[in-house]
Structures are given as C-alpha cells and as structure tokens.
C-alpha cells in the first residue's frame, strides 16, 4: 500500500514535469531539424541584426538597471536622508508598469507631436529640424524604458544583501578608517556581487523576453524576429529555430542566476541582524541622494501613470463600453483560471517534494519551474507546434474512422493559452507555496499526530490554515503576471479573443495611444497589488529583509 502510494506520487510528479517541459524540449530539439530555404535567407539577412540588437539591448539594460538598482539599494540601506523610509517601497512601484505601457506613454509625451516638443516649439518658435530632441522610438529609448521598470530586481536583491551581510563588515571597515565610499567599493559591493548579479540576470531575462516595447519601437530582436517569421513568413520551423537561439542565451542567464544565488547563500554570515548605524546625509549630499532615488520612481512610475490618467480622463467615456467590459472579463477569467491551476499544481508539487524527497522529484520540480526564464514568445511557439500536431492526428483519425472533422481541440483554443501560462508562471507560484510549506515544520505534523490528529485532520487543522496566506499570495502574483502577459497571448489566443493587454497593444500600434490608456491603466492598477504586498513585507520585516525573495 505504502509502496503504491509513493509510486503514484513519484510518477505523477515526473509526469507533470515532463508535460510542462514539452514546449521547451520542442524548441530545444528544433536545433536538429533540417532548415528550409527561409532559414538560409534569414541567417544571411536579418539574423545578424537580431543578434547584435539583442546584445546591445541587453548590455544597455544591464548597465542601466545596475546603475539605478545598486545606487538606490545602497542609499536606502546604509544612508539616512529625507524620504528614505518612503523610498524603500516607492522604488518598487515601477514593477507594476509593464515595459510596453511605459513605452507608449513616453512615445506619446516625447514624440514630435507630443506635448513636450509642441510646447518647446511654441515657446521658441522653432520648427522641425531646428532643434535636437532625442528620438524615443530608438534603441536608446528601449534601453531607457526597460531600465526604468526592470531595475527593481537589482534593487531588491541588492538591498537585502546590503542589509543582511554587509552590516557587520561595514562596521568593522568603519573602525578601520573606511569612509562610506571606500567601504562601498572595498567591502559592501564585493560581498553583494553575487546577489546583484542574480538580480541582474532576472532583469536580463525580462529584457530578452520583452516583445511589446521592441516591437512598438520597431527594433529587430529575437522576439520580434520570431513573430515576423511566424506570422509574416508562416515558417514554423524557422521560427522554432530562431526561438532555440534565444533559448541558448536564456540558458546562459539561468546558469548565471543559479550560480550567483548559490554563492550569495554561501556568503551569508549567520550572525544576528543588527541595525546598521546609518550614514547621515545633510545638505547637498541629502539632495543628491533624494534625487538619485526620486528620479527612477518618477520616471518609472509617476510620470507614465500621470500621462495614462490624463489620457484615460479624456477618452474613457468613449472607451469604456460593452467591449471594454468583455476585455476585462476575458482578462480576469484567463488570469484567475491560470492562477488557480498553477497554485493547485504548485501545491501538488510542493507536497510531492515534502512527502517524496529524492533526486527524481527535485529534478522534476526544477524542470517544471524553468519557465520563468523563458520568453513568452518561445513558449508560445513551443506550445503551438506539438499541439497542432496532436490536433492534426486526432482530426485525421476522426476523419478516417468516423468521417467527421474534430477541428482544433488544443491549438486554437484557450487550452493552449492556459498551458503556456502554466509553463511560464508555475515557478512563481511554486516558490511562494514552497516557502509557505517550509514554515510548516515536520515536527508540527508530529505534534499534531501525538495530540490525536489523524493525517487528514492535520491537513485541515494545521496545513490549510498555515498555507492560506502564501497560497493567496501565489494566486495574486500569477493573476497579475497573466494580466500583463503579451507575446504568448498574442500568438496563442483563439481567433477574435482579446484581452486588456492585447487591446492596449493593438490600439497603441495603431497610433491610438490615448485610446489605449484605459486598458493600460487597468493593467497597471491591478499590477500594483503584488507590489503593495511586496512593499508591505519589506517594511514589516525591517530586521528580516533577507527573506524577501523575488
């Protein structure tokens, strides 16, 4: 009996992991497929451009997020200046902004016809070409947009390490005559490097995964290339091959992140956390610190949010109609469904790991949760190819045996989309649920049993109440991520099925920026939920910030 249960557990975990890794395996194996003529053409023409653009974009965003993330993390963890306590959580707000939405608002504001340039022309009487103004829809613009919203990854991990590890050593270094700057370069930064690199690799994963910003700015990178090959050329093999190239970069980042994270753990000194005697900043220095923290918050959140609100006020009466509510309902149903399924799966895998620890389980769970790093475009292509194949098989079977066509069962329906969301976001719910499960120590199970609880009673009286909050958190985070998701939804959505993100993207692409604002603003408002939650956890656990994980 016991053997059978453990057998079932183990194999259902391995099976789940296998099913979830179908898209990634599909893409990875497409490397070995014989390329068609298009592929040859692509490698000769656009591929070098995609490659160099992706590299330039990643380097730029890397530098941008590092500068903003590290400086703000350092200032908010070791210095005292006006507004510091508020900046600790304000600096997280840009996380609520999808990069593509920031891109629309900046384009609207700073384009030739936008309010900023118009005002300059009105004041000065200049006309077009009389003055220089940086082009927003450019590589530089894309780097700026992505840096504004992705720096919180570096900030979060950097700050927790500065607080957690550097406090003791920083005090030692102060007694050894190190000022703030020397202490930063010689002690704190080298210590925090693994954590910062882990944050950086997360930001770069998002950069490589971005589709909305680069496609809106017309920059040819891998994600936009996959789209063009898929929809423009209709060449699925070539799209999959291109996706596999992108996968190669992503895997490099995953390895970088995992290695850095393990190093960061290694550096953890186990000493109790103390309050660091902060450097008090006054006068000019305080202003500088205020500006360093204030500018990213302003540019990454308040300015675009204000622009969206202004547009929304102008256009909402036209935009909020039955169609809009249909979008909201579609988005909510998709997001809630995906969140629910991914949390249930996460609970299943988390319990599996608890009940059946072992190599097979751990490898399976690792594989199942690799999707967080894989761009939505890649996952979408990896989902649709096998699903279309299965549909074809079923259809031809039905045709030959019953003379009826079954049509599309998996590929053209919400099933494919849900599956893609699961692959992409399972890791997030899994991590949250696992951290909840970790808090239920095995001895609590034993305690409950020694107090007369049968296993089922233990589940209802101890586990469920204790898991409630982390389960809800996981639900919320996945919900919001699905709401924001763009590229996989664009590729996999059933015909004529729209979501808020898709609608915002379509309207913006049609240069109807103001009209896109209601949908965009809805996404941002919902996206604020997990950010508020995260900032609460940060300020609640002042001395415990080390536990805040992304």
């Amino acid at each position: 009996m016991k053997n059978l249960t453990s057998y079932l557990w183990r194999w259902s975990i391995v099976g789940t992991a296998l099913i979830l890794s179908i898209p990634i395996l599909t893409i990875a194996f497409s490397v070995f497929e014989t390329p068609g003529g298009n592929w040859q053409h692509l490698t000769n023409t656009v591929l070098p451009e995609y490659l160099s653009n992706s590299i330039i974009l990643s380097c730029g965003v890397g530098i941008g997020t590092l500068i903003i993330g590290v400086s703000t993390a350092w200032l908010t963890s070791t210095c005292r200046f006006p507004g510091k306590n508020q900046f600790v959580w304000l600096l997280l707000l840009p996380m609520a902004m999808p990069a593509y939405i920031v891109a629309y608002t900046y384009t609207g504001m700073f384009d030739f016809a936008g309010p900023v340039q118009s005002t300059i022309r009105d004041w000065t009487g200049w006309s077009y070409r009389d003055y220089y103004f940086p082009q927003i829809r450019s590589m530089g613009g894309a780097i700026a947009m992505l840096s504004f919203v992705l720096y919180p990854y570096v900030y979060l991990l950097g700050r927790s390490t500065f607080l957690e590890q550097s406090v003791g050593v920083m005090e030692v270094s102060r007694t050894l005559d190190c000022g703030p700057w020397t202490g930063f370069y010689k002690v704190a930064l080298p210590l925090a490097r693994p954590a910062i690199v882990a944050g950086l690799s997360l930001a770069l994963m998002e950069t490589l995964a971005d589709y909305g910003t680069v496609s809106y700015f017309g920059i040819g990178v891998f994600t936009t290339g996959i789209f063009r090959t898929w929809f423009g050329l209709g060449d699925y093999t070539a799209a999959a091959k291109m996706a596999s190239l992108l996968l190669f970069f992503v895997f490099a980042l995953i390895i970088l992140e995992r290695v850095s994270r393990s190093k960061a753990q290694y550096h953890n000194s186990s000493g109790k956390l103390k309050r660091f005697s902060e450097f008090r900043l006054k006068g000019f220095k305080a202003c500088l610190a205020f500006a360093t923290c204030g500018i990213p918050v302003f540019l990454g959140f308040f300015l675009p949010a204000a622009q969206l609100s202004v547009w929304a006020l102008e256009t909402w009466s036209d935009m909020v109609d039955d169609r809009f509510f249909e979008l909201v309902i579609n988005s909510f149903i998709l997001a809630f469904g995906a969140a629910l399924i991914s949390v249930i799966l996460a609970l299943f895998l988390g319990y599996g790991k608890r009940i059946m620890p072992g190599k097979a389980t751990i490898i399976s769970i690792r594989t199942a949760s690799i999707g967080y790093a894989i761009p939505g475009t890649v996952i979408a292509v990896g989902v649709i190819i096998p699903f279309a194949w299965i549909d074809g098989r079923i259809d031809s079977f039905m045709q030959s045996s019953f003379g009826i066509s079954s049509g599309l069962i998996f590929s053209g329906t919400l099933v494919a989309l849900m599956f893609a969301y699961l692959v992409r976001f399972l890791a997030i719910s899994l991590q949250t649920v696992e951290s909840g499960l970790d808090k239920i120590k095995p001895s609590m199970d034993d305690a409950a049993r020694s107090l007369g609880c049968r296993p089922r009673e233990t589940l209802f009286k101890i586990h469920i109440p204790l898991l409630k909050s982390s389960t809800l958190t996981a639900l919320m985070i996945v919900f919001v991520d699905v709401m924001k998701e763009l590229p996989a939804t664009l590729i996999l959505r059933p015909f004529d099925f729209n979501t808020l993100a898709v609608r915002a993207f379509e309207l913006a692409s049609d240069e109807r920026l103001a009209d896109s604002s209601t949908a965009a603003l809805t996404i941002v408002v919902v996206g604020l939920l997990p950010v508020i939650y995260l900032s609460k956890t940060i300020s609640h656990s002042r001395l415990d910030q080390g536990n805040t994980k992304i």
Binding site: M444, D446, A448, R449, S450, L451, K461, L466
Partner: protein, 347 residues
C-alpha cells in the same frame, strides 16, 4: 506493572543500523532520561516509542499493551503518548490557549477551559494565554509546548531535547522547573538530551547511550561513581584515566603510588589497567613524595580546576579552593584518596 517496557529494539534506515537491542523501562510517575552524544540513537529510540518510526525488531509495551510487533502497529495518534519537540513546534496560527486545548478538542468547552487554565497556572503562563507563539520568548514557548503535550493526560510524555534551542542560563532554570511540573502532574516521562547536567536535574534514572547501544541505565550517582565501562566513565563528569599495573595483594601500582581496592579475581598479576581518577580524588599534600607539574589552571568561582601531569606524562584533574593560587609549571606533591577504585583493563 511497569508503565513502559521496551525490549530488544532494533532500528535501521536501510542498511544503516541506528539501534541495537535497545532495552528500557519506566515505572509509574518516573522520569527517565536518554543521554548520549549526538548520533547515538537516543532520538530514534524516542521516535520509535512515539510511533513516528517503525522499529525493525523488538517490542514496545505501554501499560501492558503491545504497541508494535510484526503484525500490529499502533498509529502515533492512538498511542496516548505526548511529545515535546526540540524545535518547539507550536502551531503559529493558534494562540497559547488554543495550542494547549488542541489535544483536548473533543472535551466540552467547560472541561477544556478548566484543564487549560490548570496547565497555564502550572507552567506560569496564565497572563499570556491570548498571545500568539511569535509574541512570546523561547522559554515561554517551550513551557506552552509542555502544557500542550500534558493537556490530554498522556500515559507517557516524551521530550526530545526540549531545552537545546534555549539560552544556557535559561536552560538550567527551566530544567529544574520541568522536573517540578512533571512531578506535580505525576507524569511518566522520558527526556532525551546530550547535556548531562540537564539529565541530572530532571531524571530519576538515566540511560547512557553510545553508537546505538545502551551503555548503562542507572541513577546519576552510580553513573558518576560506578561507571560500568570506559565510555560512561569518560562521558559522565570530569576525570581522567591513570595507567597502572596490578601488583600483589590486590593493589594497583601507578605513578602516584599504590591504589588499594577489592580487585576481582579475573585481574591477574601484572595486568595493565586504567584507573578512573575524579578531580576530588586528588588531594594536595606538599610533603608527599609523589610529585606532579601544574600544566593549566581554570577559574571556576569557588575553586580552581588544575590540570596536572605525572612523571610518566599522564594527565590528572584537581580542584583546589580559589583562595590559594598555585602557579603554572609549579611542582606540587599530591596523594590519591579513593574508596572504591574504578578501573578498566587495557587490552
């Protein structure tokens, strides 16, 4: 009838055998201790009694009822055995009072409140009954855990290193308190610990374990004064083993003269033996011809603990009042005062 009897228990994780013929018994309202270094199998023995582990061989009998054999295995929730855990394991979502009432949830509200108030009083936590576990200190948490385990009036209470997560100062005080609480409730209990002072403070009798085997199950006095083997002699208390040779007329010749005692007949002339010397056996006697050199000195409040070296290089320990202080490298004369020598043959 004995409260608990454990007979020839074997336990193994795969090929790794943890317990070898573990025997143990406990009378009504008695407190037993399992004492030993980490990895000696004491926690496994406790978990087997509680029903969290299934032993490969042997019997566990509680109140005359067999809890396990090749056919039966009574589940832990049916054993009426309470347990206190090393990591305390209070339920974080329940208040102090709710934690204590968890095991008596089938009683009526009245009886539940009566019992929990009684226990809150006993462990001195009445004023904290509405608090949650994270709002009280480690020592208070462990008191609540003790009350929670005692609430259903278990036939047997097991405590797995209950004090090891607490600060040192608190540990001794709480150990004495636990003994009083257990005695007041007349609970039969087993305490697992690696700390002999804790075992001495709490237990009526102590079972010393090493490498999965029982070494000696005895009173604290006997463990100290009549250890049965080298392991117990070295593990319990302070002391050293002084090499010697069996001479004629039932005496042992050592660096510090002859030690007289009733030697068993198995000891033959010229056998090499080690004699257990406790610090209190070494008496300062400057006129004595047996000289030793002081190698180190540790302040212990009322006395100094000295380490001494004999001519042939054997170490000794010795307490002397801290009012007179001797210097390191000083040579002093000592003599041994031993009523019943404890010795082990060297083979």
């Amino acid at each position: 009838m004995k409260r608990l009897e454990v007979k020839k228990l074997d336990f193994a994780y795969g090929r790794n055998q943890i317990l070898f013929e573990f025997d143990f018994s406990l009378e009504e309202s008695q407190i037993g201790c399992l004492l030993g270094p980490s990895g000696c199998g004491k926690t496994t023995a406790l978990r087997a009694i509680a029903g969290f582990e299934n032993p490969t061989k042997g019997e566990i009998i509680l109140n005359g009822n067999k809890l396990n054999s090749s056919k039966i295995f009574v589940e832990p929730e049916k054993r009426q055995i309470g347990m206190v855990f090393q990591d305390i394991a209070l339920f974080p979502h329940l208040s102090v009072k709710e934690n204590i009432q968890f095991g008596i949830r089938s009683l009526s509200q009245n009886l539940r409140d009566k019992r929990s108030n009684e226990l809150l009083d006993l462990v001195g936590m009445s004023e904290f009954k509405k608090k949650y576990p994270h709002e009280i200190s480690g020592g208070q948490q462990q008191r609540v855990a003790l009350a929670r385990a005692m609430a259903p009036k278990p036939s047997l209470l097991l405590m797995d290193e209950p004090l090891s997560s607490l600060d040192e100062e608190l540990r001794e005080q709480l150990a004495r308190e636990i003994r009083l609480i257990l005695k007041q409730e007349k609970v039969s209990a087993i305490l697992v610990t690696h700390d002999q002072n804790e075992a001495f403070a709490v237990g009526d009798h102590i079972c010393v374990m090493h490498q999965g085997r029982v070494q000696q199950n005895d009173s604290a006095y006997n463990l100290y004064h009549h250890p049965l083997n080298r392991f117990v002699a070295e593990f319990i208390g302070e002391g050293t083993l002084l090499p010697g040779v069996v001479a004629d007329e039932g005496t042992i010749a050592t660096d510090l003269g002859e030690i007289k005692g009733n030697l068993p007949e198995s000891c033959k002339h010229q056998d090499k033996v080690d004699v257990l010397i406790r610090p209190e056996n070494v008496i300062l006697a400057n006129d004595n011809e047996n000289k030793v050199v002081i190698t180190a000195r540790y302040f212990r409040g009322s006395s100094y603990l000295y380490t001494l070296k004999t001519n042939s290089g054997a170490d000794l320990l010795c307490f002397l009042s801290s009012s007179e202080s001797l210097q390191i490298d000083q040579t002093i004369g000592v003599h041994l005062q031993i009523e019943k020598p404890v010795f082990f043959s060297r083979s």
